[in-house]
Symmetry: C2
Subunit: 277 residues, 2 copies
Amino acid sequence: MKEQQPLGISFHERHIVHPGASVDLGKVDAGDKAGLKKNDQVEEEMDRLRAELDDLQERFYAWDKRSLLIVLQAMDTGGKDGTIEAVMHGVNPQGVNVTSFKTPTAEELAHDFLWRVHKAAPARRMIGIFNRSHYEDVLVVRVHNLVPEEVWRQRYDQINHFERLLTDCGTVILKFYLHISKDEQAKRLQERLDDPKKHWKFAAGDLKERELWDDYTAAYQEALARCSTEGAPWYVIPANHNWYRNLAVTSIIVEALKKLNPVYPPLDPSIGKIVIS
Amino acid sequence: MKEQQPLGISFHERHIVHPGASVDLGKVDAGDKAGLKKNDQVEEEMDRLRAELDDLQERFYAWDKRSLLIVLQAMDTGGKDGTIEAVMHGVNPQGVNVTSFKTPTAEELAHDFLWRVHKAAPARRMIGIFNRSHYEDVLVVRVHNLVPEEVWRQRYDQINHFERLLTDCGTVILKFYLHISKDEQAKRLQERLDDPKKHWKFAAGDLKERELWDDYTAAYQEALARCSTEGAPWYVIPANHNWYRNLAVTSIIVEALKKLNPVYPPLDPSIGKIVIS
């Protein structure tokens, strides 16, 4: 089956981090639009993709054979919430489970770092979305020295083994790093300060984190390079333009689901011809 | 604030089970349409309600003060799944959490019947939807004699106390019984047998349950009468017509959220005038 690419672009090919490749985020243009403009053609394609995702999710749910895990990571204001809303808008919420990982609780900290993550793994037939994830344990934890280096250093392998377990057992994993520029972040933080509808998203701590931009970039680069695998690839999605980010993410998810070819299961053959009375 | 009723109908008033009132489902027309027809005006109102729900949910999430729990119960084919899809279509999935209660596991059975339910209670700012619920413990459990009568008899009070705990602590609870006729169920089961896209929804056990229609009706009537309370009311929604069911349920949810008047919280006053650089 030939991949359908109405815009002539494979977002998968364009944005995947090939396993084993190194990552230099400074060389990825966060404002990249793959030569597209936000015009009617792009909006039509987005509508088509959303409808296709809606249909595929319904089949995937009925099929009941696999799980899909979508991991979203980004710098503050990178657009994790917006992506979930835009991409999953219209998909049956019964088949979708969003987990937002916050600062670990005392109970969570009393376990290994993957304990709470494993608990949130999507069940068969479900699409699980991680808004932040176990990757924070090699990002914020590394940048703020919350554990010694020899501890976080071994986590890349631990993460790969854990994700391998999930994919071996039937979960498809797609990981998206939403890549914005430092200037774009300034603009977005300012909006949160200026727009009363966005005040609730602003935390004073965001400014402190912003000062650590370069440290976060280094941590992301290593995580993306070391943990992009055949079964659980990372994608670096240019995310200065929301519409492009949504288009690329939706397209990659749709292509991954189409490859699985989920089908409506047949009637149990033991059930013969029945007329309900 | 005057309740907005563009169709001149308060679905809340029309379908609520008043606390203390008895319930005779035989006297509720499952095909009731409140005098409406599925015309343009009704479809426009449904679109308006969906948009309003989308907006209210966003405010509710940002507000971060309360939770909303929606309980859906029905006979097989009553439309629980369809209601979730139709009503929540377009609401940000990050703020919605659907829990489908299945046959309890061994671990769940080793606890009191509300243990697994309490675990699934929606966190602050979340809309939790229960597809089936603790009410199965006075429905299927009662009809099939899974526990002695003296055990399930005390559950009505236990349920009321449990729900009271949730409402005391900030959760708004709305419970919907989707009421279909026995003839309508026959039609819908037949569709599941005849339509390949619906085969996966058919289970041979459904026919056995159908034979127990009257026992289920009696069990529902008692649960609805004994557990409709001021803070956690039951609604009996005529559900032979999907469009009417969706309209009524959406309207009641929207009215309940509007009463809370969720607002976008202001900026932390300790954050002064800042310009991001």
